[in-house]
Every structure is written in structure tokens, then in C-alpha cells.
């Protein structure tokens, strides 16, 4: 049985053609990039996530990919997931329509059986959307950095050919944040936690609307632990976990303060 011609190729009116052409539009490219990062991170292995982020960064010179790569190296396990969450937040905040970040790797709906899944009776994804509160001190509320300017962004042009709007803020802002956090991380790696804390203070002062406030907080907690200031580390960790219990960094934060309490 032969398929009938599609409406766009046959009997559609001009009005219907305009509608159907609009419906063939593509998704925003940035959303696709976020999904790639989140999906590769969801494979569940740090090495895999790092590889994916590295590949993405190599493919693009944009601040977006630069951020993925750097966040992985700065924070480690779960960072790519966190970065994906940050990007979601950045995109949403730009529109002003949503005030909280969205984390996309949590527990989940149970899906029904699929004939296309080998050796299973159902799909039990571990990913779902969970809203979490805003990042904790020392950073101010997170502001958008990259991502589309609006949560209501329409898909790529199908009729007018107009390009997608530019990112909400310049990649240089993100690069500046990355540079500062890299410096703090390097100081920590060099056994200079006091210097790392000083650099994090400077970071907080320089970036009152930091995009990577959560990452900075995790590094700060580690620096406090290494500096021997366990009470401060525990207070900050408790504050972080209270405000972001579903954060992808939560496990790492717990391990940091747990390790400091033998």
C-alpha cells in the first residue's frame, strides 16, 4: 500500500502550507547541545562524561562548550550534570518566566514495556526533572549566562529564515568566571587552600550574579576542609544541602564533609 502524498506536497491550501512549514522547524540548537551533554553524563561514568564534554568543547569555540569542559575539570563527578542544570537555569532565567534552576537527573517515571528494548519488561529511567532552590552563599542569585534568551523561544526559522537570537550574555563573562575558578582550583591542587579561599572571595566579589555559584561553593567547601576549618565547611555544606538537596553536587559535598569527620 502506497502512502498518500503529504499535504505540503499536494492538496494543502496556502494557509495550511504556512502552518505545516512552521511545524517542520528544528529545535533550538542550544537545547540540543544541552541534551547531548546531559545524556552523555547520564551514562553514569565520570570518564564518559569528561570525554563527552571534551569532545563538545573541541567541536565548538563557544563559551557554552568551554564551560562544560572547565566545569568537569573544576568539580569532577557529576559536574556535567550540574552544568546542564545550570544551562537550563540560565536559559529560563533570561526569560524571567522561571526563577529556579532545573536539575535533570533524578529519579523517575516508570515506563511501560517496549518491544524495542532487549531483555526487559519495562523502562525504568532514572532521569526526571526536579526543581531545586537557588544556589547558596557566597554567591548572589544566579543570573543567566548562556542559552536562548527566552523560555518561550520558537524553533529555528522555517518561514522567515531569521536566525535564532544571540545568547543572553557574552561568553566572555563565563570565561572570566571559569578563569577565576580554575585559579582557585589550581591553588587547592597545589596545597594552598588559604589562597584558594582568597581567590574564591575575589570570585564572589567579581561575579555578584555568578553563573557557577554552585561550583564555587563546592570548591570552597573543599578548601575549608583542607584548611582545617571543619566547622565552617560543615556549616556551608549544611546550607548547600538544605537549599539544594537534589543537587548533582550533593553527594560530593557530603563526601567532603564526611571525610573531614572520621
Amino acid at each position: 500500500m502506497k502512502d498518500p502524498p503529504r499535504l505540503l506536497e499536494g492538496s494543502a491550501s496556502e494557509y495550511e502550507r504556512l502552518l505545516l512549514r512552521a511545524g517542520r522547524a528544528d529545535a533550538p540548537a542550544e537545547a540540543r547541545q544541552r541534551a547531548i551533554v546531559a545524556a552523555t553524563a547520564a551514562l553514569g561514568t565520570t570518564g564518559l562524561a569528561v570525554g563527552a564534554a571534551t569532545s563538545l568543547a573541541a567541536k565548538s569555540a563557544s563559551g557554552l562548550s568551554l564551560k562544560w569542559l572547565a566545569v568537569v575539570s573544576l568539580v569532577g563527578v557529576g559536574a556535567v550534570v550540574g552544568a546542564a542544570a545550570i544551562e537550563s537555569h540560565g536559559r529560563a532565567s533570561a526569560s524571567g518566566a522561571r526563577s529556579e534552576p532545573t536539575i535533570l537527573v533524578q529519579a523517575a517515571p516508570t515506563l511501560g514495556a517496549s518491544p524495542h528494548v532487549r531483555g526487559t519488561t519495562g523502562v525504568s529511567p532514572r532521569a526526571s526533572a526536579t526543581d531545586v532552590p537557588s544556589p547558596v552563599a557566597p554567591a548572589a542569585p544566579v543570573a543567566p549566562a548562556l542559552g536562548s534568551a527566552s523560555g518561550t523561544e520558537m524553533p529555528a526559522p522555517a518561514i522567515s529564515g531569521a536566525p535564532l537570537p544571540p545568547p543572553a550574555s557574552a561568553p566572555s563573562d563565563v570565561r572570566s568566571e571559569l578563569r577565576d575558578l580554575e585559579d582557585a582550583r589550581a591553588a587547592l591542587a597545589a596545597g594552598q587552600p588559604a589562597r584558594a579561599l582568597s581567590l574564591l572571595d575575589a570570585y564572589a566579589a567579581s561575579h555578584p550574579h555568578a553563573t557557577m555559584a554552585s561550583e564555587a561553593t563546592v570548591i570552597r567547601i573543599e578548601a575549608l576542609v583542607r584548611a582545617g576549618d571543619h566547622p565552617a565547611a560543615e556549616r556551608l555544606a549544611a546550607s548547600f544541602l538544605a537549599s539544594q538537596p537534589q543537587s548533582p553536587y550533593a553527594e560530593r559535598v557530603r563526601s567532603l564533609v564526611g571525610a573531614s569527620n572520621p
Binding site: 529545535a27 537545547a31 522561571r98
Partner: protein, 195 residues
Amino acid sequence: MTRTECNAADMPSLARERASMPVDRVRGVVEAQYDFVWRTLRTLGLGGADAEDAAQQVMCVLARRIDDVEAGAERAFLFSTATHVASTWRRTARRHPEDASDDLDTRSAPAPSVEDLLDRRRAYEVLERVLQAMPVELRIVFVLYELEEMTTPAIAEVIGVPVGTIASRLRRARESFQAIVKRMQAVQRGRKEQP
């Protein structure tokens, strides 16, 4: 030394090669199928930001199940997952102000003019209104055939119903689509004729 460097240095080359395989497959599937998933979710009634977040969620499910998904069956898996995610999402997620397009009443909403539709956003908004006014089982077949340009056998495989059922639904879906559009245009004409 950064953690990236640690990973690169510590992971045995053989393990690294093996590990890269699912990453490459996942990345390839997401790149190739993201638009399909996103459009499917929009068809199922999720607004712009929700569709993006839900599409990301669908891709995370794919990643976690990648070893169980047969090569060539990725699209069917993604469609099945997207329908479940959309269902859960609409039940549990808070609605955002920008996601209210499906609340519009197409019976009384006039159709914009052809000139208006040359604005792609306006055209997309109208299309969404029309699609949301269609019964969901017809809407899905309509979108997969007319917008995704899938064949009826492929749609039958994805949805899991006989090809004859797909052909029947497609016929009814087209009738529904064109009836809704005509109704909207009639409302527009009626309003123009009013003094």
C-alpha cells in the same frame, strides 16, 4: 593536575576505547533525533521551555538504557519514552505562563491572516493551537506523517499499531486538521464582516 587529566592518564587505553562506544552512540542518537523528540513533546502539549527540559530527560533515559536499545530502534524507543515523559510531565510539572497555548479555544479563536502567518512564530503558535484541538491519537499520526515525514509502516512500528490503523487515523487526522483550520478562518471572516 585537573580531574580531566587524571582520567585521561589513569584509564587504560582498552577500557577507554570500550567506554567511548556508548558515548559516541548516545551522542549520535541525540544529535540525530533531538529535533524529533522535541517536536514530539511539543505535539504532546509541552510548551517551549518544558519541551526542552523534557527532551533532555528523554535523552537521559536513552543514555541509561542505551545498551538495551537495539540498533535501528532508537526512534521507536525515543517516541515511547517521550510519550511517557510527556504524560508524567503534564501531570506533575507546574505549568508555566508561556505554556498556555493549548488552553486556547480554537472554536472561537479567529485565524490570523496569511500575512500574519509569514511571521514564523505566529505560524507556529497557530499550528500548535490547531494540533492541540485534535484528538491526541490523530495528532500524533498527523505530526509523524506530515511533519516528520515518516512512512505509515514506520509510524506503525513506532506506535505499535497495524499499518491499516495508521492509514485510517491519518485520513481522519487530515480531516480534523483541515476542519479546524477552516473553522478558525470562518471565525476570522465572520469578525471581519461585523460592522
